[in-house]
C-alpha cells in the first residue's frame, strides 16, 4: 500500500442559506491528509449542513472546496464519490437480508449484468485480507452485531476506493468497547496514510482520544479549530456552547421509597421484526426511584416500552401497577397515574396535524373540569390549560393553535413531557427522552424527570445512552437479548462491567 492513497480536503469560506436562515456563515475547514479530524458542535450548529455541502447534497451559496489541494465542483453525491469521498451514516445502509459479499458487490457503480460470484468472492477475499479487520463475507447482514455492521459500512467505503471518509456519529449504536475498537482502527489506518477521516461527534472523549485536529461549529459559525493536543476539554465545551453557562440537570433529592409501584414478572413479548423479543423474569420500580434500563438498541427495549404503552400485546406474564393488573387501557392508566414518554414523540405519542393545544389535551379531553366523563369538548378549558403548560414548560411555538408538526424536535419533546407530567404521575415510563436534543433541552428534560422522581414518581428510564442513565438513575439494570442480565445501584456502577453485560459477555 502506498502512502499516497488518501488526500486532504479544504472547505473555504462556505456560506449556505435556507431562505432567511443562515445555516453556515463563512465557515472554513481544513482536513490534512492521513489525519482524523473531529467536527464538533451542538445539534443545529451546522455540522450536517457543512458535510452535505461537501458531499454535494447541498450547493453552497458561497465559498469553494479543495479536494487534494485541487479546486473541485461537487454538484451531487456522484461527483463526491468519483473524487473518492465517502460517507458513513448513523443508520445503516446495508440490506439486512443479503450477505456481506452481496452488499459489497451491489454497492459498486459498475455491477455487471451477470455476476460471476466465484471470481467476485475471490477478489473480495483478497481485498478483506489486505484490510486490518475482517467480516464474514457469507454471513447475512441481519445476523451481524451492530459493531460488525458498522465495520461493513467502513469496508464498503474502502472497497469502493473511497479514501476520504466522513463518519456521522458512528459510535452512537455501538458499545463502549466496540466504539474504542472501531475508532482505534480508523486512527491506525489514517496514520498509515490509507485514510483521512472527518468524524462528526458530540463526545469529547472520542475527540481527545482519537482525533488529531478539531473544528468546532456554533450556530452556523466557526467557533474554533486546532490541534486536539493543544485544547482542553473545557475549551472545547466553551467553544461549543459559547459564553452562556451550561444548564445543569437537577439533582436527585431524598432516598428511594419503599413502596413498589411497577412490578413485572415473567413478562414476555414477541418481536415483530424478528429480533429477540422480551423475557423479563422480574423487574421492580419503587416510588422516588429512577430505574435505568441500559442496553444496545434492539435487545428488547422497544418491546418493553410498547407493552407498557399499550402499543403491543404481551404474550405472557404479569404487569402490576400498585398491585393491580395493568393493560394500558385508558381508565386504568388514569386511575393508577401511569404516564409514558416514548422515543420519537412525533411518531409515537402525538399527532403532527393537530394543534399544540389539542396535543396537550390528549390525557384530559374526555373528562369535565370536575373530572367526570365528558361528551362535549371543553375547548375554552383546553385553550386555557394549553397557555399554562406552554408557559410553564417553555414550549416555543408560534401559537397554541399551530400544528404540532411545525415545532422543532426539542419543543415537541417538551410538549409531550408537559402533557404526560402535567398531573402527578405515579409511574412514568420514558424511552430515549433526549435523543437528538441540544444541551439546553437535554438538561431541561432530564431535570423534569428527576423532579418527578423527587415528588415521588416511580420512573422506568429506557435509554441507549449509558451516560444519561449514569447521570440520573438510582439503579441500573442491563437488558440483553430481551432479558435482564445485570443489576447495580448507580453508586457501584462500573462502565466496563455494564458494557460487557450489554454484549452478553459475563
Amino acid at each position: 500500500m502506498t502512502p499516497s492513497r488518501t488526500f486532504g480536503l479544504e472547505a473555504l469560506r462556505i456560506t449556505k442559506r435556507f431562505g432567511d436562515f443562515v445555516a453556515l456563515d463563512d465557515v472554513s475547514l481544513k482536513v490534512a491528509p492521513g489525519t482524523v479530524h473531529a467536527l464538533l458542535g451542538e445539534n443545529g450548529a451546522g455540522k450536517s449542513t457543512l458535510v452535505k455541502c461537501i458531499m454535494g447534497y447541498y450547493r453552497p451559496d458561497d465559498g469553494q472546496l479543495l479536494v487534494g489541494s485541487r479546486e473541485a465542483t461537487i454538484a451531487g453525491p456522484r461527483d463526491a464519490h468519483a473524487l473518492g469521498l465517502g460517507m458513513v451514516y448513523q443508520h445503516f445502509t446495508l440490506v439486512p437480508s443479503m450477505t456481506v459479499a452481496e452488499n459489497l458487490v451491489m454497492a459498486r457503480a459498475d455491477v455487471p449484468r451477470v455476476v460471476d460470484w466465484r471470481t467476485e468472492l475471490k477478489s473480495l477475499e483478497r481485498f478483506i485480507g489486505s484490510m486490518p479487520f475482517g467480516v464474514p463475507l457469507q454471513a447475512r447482514v441481519h445476523q451481524l452485531s451492530a459493531g460488525e455492521r458498522q465495520k461493513c459500512e467502513l469496508l464498503k467505503q474502502l472497497y469502493l476506493e473511497r479514501h476520504f471518509l466522513i463518519l456521522d456519529e458512528p459510535t452512537s449504536v455501538l458499545t463502549p468497547d466496540e466504539a474504542d475498537e472501531m475508532l482505534g482502527l480508523l486512527r491506525s489506518m489514517a496514520q498509515r496514510g490509507d485514510l483521512t477521516v472527518l468524524l462528526i461527534t458530540h463526545k469529547f472523549r472520542e475527540v481527545s482520544r482519537y482525533a488529531d485536529d478539531v473544528t468546532v461549529l456554533r450556530k452556523g459559525q466557526l467557533a474554533g479549530a486546532g490541534k486536539v493536543a493543544k485544547v482542553s476539554r473545557e475549551d472545547l465545551a466553551a467553544m461549543m456552547v459559547g459564553s452562556r453557562t451550561l444548564p445543569e440537570t437537577a439533582a436527585r433529592v431524598g432516598t428511594v421509597g419503599s413502596e413498589i409501584v411497577l412490578s413485572l414478572r415473567d413478562l414476555t413479548a414477541d418481536d415483530a421484526r424478528g429480533g429477540h423479543g422480551l423475557a423479563i423474569s422480574d423487574l421492580l420500580v419503587r416510588s422516588h426511584e429512577i430505574v435505568g434500563v441500559a442496553g444496545i438498541a434492539g435487545n428488547g427495549q422497544r418491546e418493553l416500552v410498547e407493552v407498557l404503552a399499550g402499543q403491543q400485546a404481551r404474550t405472557g406474564g404479569t404487569v402490576l401497577v400498585e398491585g393491580e393488573p395493568y393493560d394500558g387501557d385508558r381508565g386504568t392508566a388514569r386511575r393508577l397515574g401511569v404516564r409514558c414518554l416514548p422515543e420519537e414523540p412525533l411518531r409515537n405519542a402525538s399527532v403532527r396535524t393537530m394543534s399544540v393545544a389539542e396535543n396537550l389535551a390528549f390525557r384530559r379531553f374526555d373528562r369535565t373540569p370536575g373530572d367526570r366523563p365528558a361528551f362535549w369538548l371543553h375547548r375554552a378549558e383546553m385553550a386555557r390549560r394549553a397557555q399554562t403548560l406552554i408557559a410553564r414548560y417553555n414550549i416555543k411555538t408560534a401559537s397554541k393553535d399551530a400544528p404540532l408538526g411545525t415545532l422543532s424536535g426539542g419543543n415537541v419533546q417538551r410538549a409531550v413531557l408537559a402533557r404526560e407530567l402535567s398531573e402527578d404521575a405515579r409511574l412514568l415510563v420514558v424511552a430515549n427522552p433526549c435523543f437528538g436534543l441540544d444541551f439546553q433541552a437535554t438538561a431541561e428534560i432530564r431535570s423534569q424527570i428527576v423532579e418527578a422522581r423527587n415528588r415521588g414518581t416511580a420512573v422506568l428510564l429506557i435509554s441507549d445512552d449509558l451516560d444519561e442513565i449514569l447521570e440520573i438513575a438510582d439503579r441500573i439494570v442491563v437488558i440483553s437479548e430481551g432479558r435482564i442480565v445485570h443489576e447495580t445501584p448507580v453508586e457501584q456502577a462500573d462502565r466496563q462491567a455494564i458494557g460487557a453485560h450489554m454484549v452478553g459477555h459475563h
Binding site: 409515537n348 403532527r352 408557559a391 417553555n394 408560534a398
Partner: protein
Amino acid sequence: MTEAVAPRAEIAAPARGDLEVRLKRAAEAIVVPLVALLAATALFSVFLLLLGKSPADFFALVAQGAFASWFSLQNTLQRAAPLLLTALCCAIPARLGLVVIGGEGALALGGLAAAAAGIAMTGAGGTTAQLVMVGASLVVGGAWIGLVGALRHWRGINETISSLILSYIAIALMNHFVEGPLKDPASLNKPSTAAIPDVAAIGTIPGTDVHWGLVIGVGLCVVLWVLMSRTTFGFAARIVGGNLRAAQLQGLPVGRLILIASAIGGACAGLAGMIEVAAVHGRANASLVVGYGYTGILVAFLARHNPLAVIPVAILFGGIVASGGLIQRRMGLPDATILVLEGIVFVAILVSDTLYGRWRIFQPRATAP
C-alpha cells in the same frame, strides 16, 4: 423548579398570534382544494380541445344545466341529496384514517332493506312506515360498512379493498332479491320490488320539486360535523386517524371507535338508498346503482372529509351530474365525459394533498429550536 423551566412571559403566545395561525390554517384548507379544482379544469379543457370541443361552451353548459334556472337548480339539488349522504359514508371513517369506498353497495342494500320494510308495512300509517324504513336502511347500511371496520381492526384486512369487494357483493345481493324473492311479477322490462305504499313516500319541500331528502342530508352533515369537531368522540377519532400509535399510548378504545365511525358512515349511505326509494323511485331496482356512491367518494375527498364542506361540494357535483344530459344533447359528447371530468378532479385532489405545509404563507412563523 430549576431556572430552565421557570415561566417566561414572552413565551405565552398572544391571542393575535393564535388568530393568525387559525386563519392561515383555514385559508390553506380552502385554497389548496380550489387550486386542485382549477388545475383539473385546465387539464379537462386540454382534453376537450383534443376532442375538438370548446371548453368555454362546456363550462357554460354546466353552469346553465346546473344552476342557471330554477328548474335546473332544483334538478341539481335533487341529485345532491344522495351525494351528501354517500360522501359522509367516506368522510366519517376517513377521520379515523380509513379509506372506505363501499358507499355504492351500502346505498343499494339500504334501499333494498327500505323497500322490503316499506312493503312489509303496507297498511300501517305513513310516519310509522317511514320510520321503519329509515331504521331498516340505517341498520343494514351501518352493519355493512361496520363489517368493513371490524375486518380492518380485528383481522387487519385493508378496508379499501374489503369495502370495494363488499360493495360488489351488496349490489349482487340487491339484484338477486330484486330479480328473485322480492320481484314484483308486474315489473317485466326492469325487474323491481313491489312499490312501497303511497303513504310511505317522501314528499317534496313545499313550493319546490326538491324532496325532503336534501334537508335530511344537510341536517346530517351539520349533526356529524358537530359530532366530529365538538365532542370527545370526534376528538378521539381524530387522534386515531392522526396517529394510531399515539391513540394506543393514550389507551383509547381504537377498535370501538373504528367500528362506530364505520357504522355511522354506512348508515348514512343506507339512508341515501332509503331516500332514493321513498322519494324518487318508489321501489328498489337497478336504478339505485347509478354511481352516487362513487361520486360521493370524490365529494368527500374534495371536502377534505369535513362534513360541513361536504354540503357545497355535493351541490357542485350534483350540478355537474345534472348537466350531463344537456351536454350530451348540445355538444354531442358521450355520458362518460362527465366521468372523465370526475376522474381528473379526483387525481388533482389526491396530488394536492402533497401541497399542504408547502406554501410558506400558510405556515406559522418559524420558532427557535
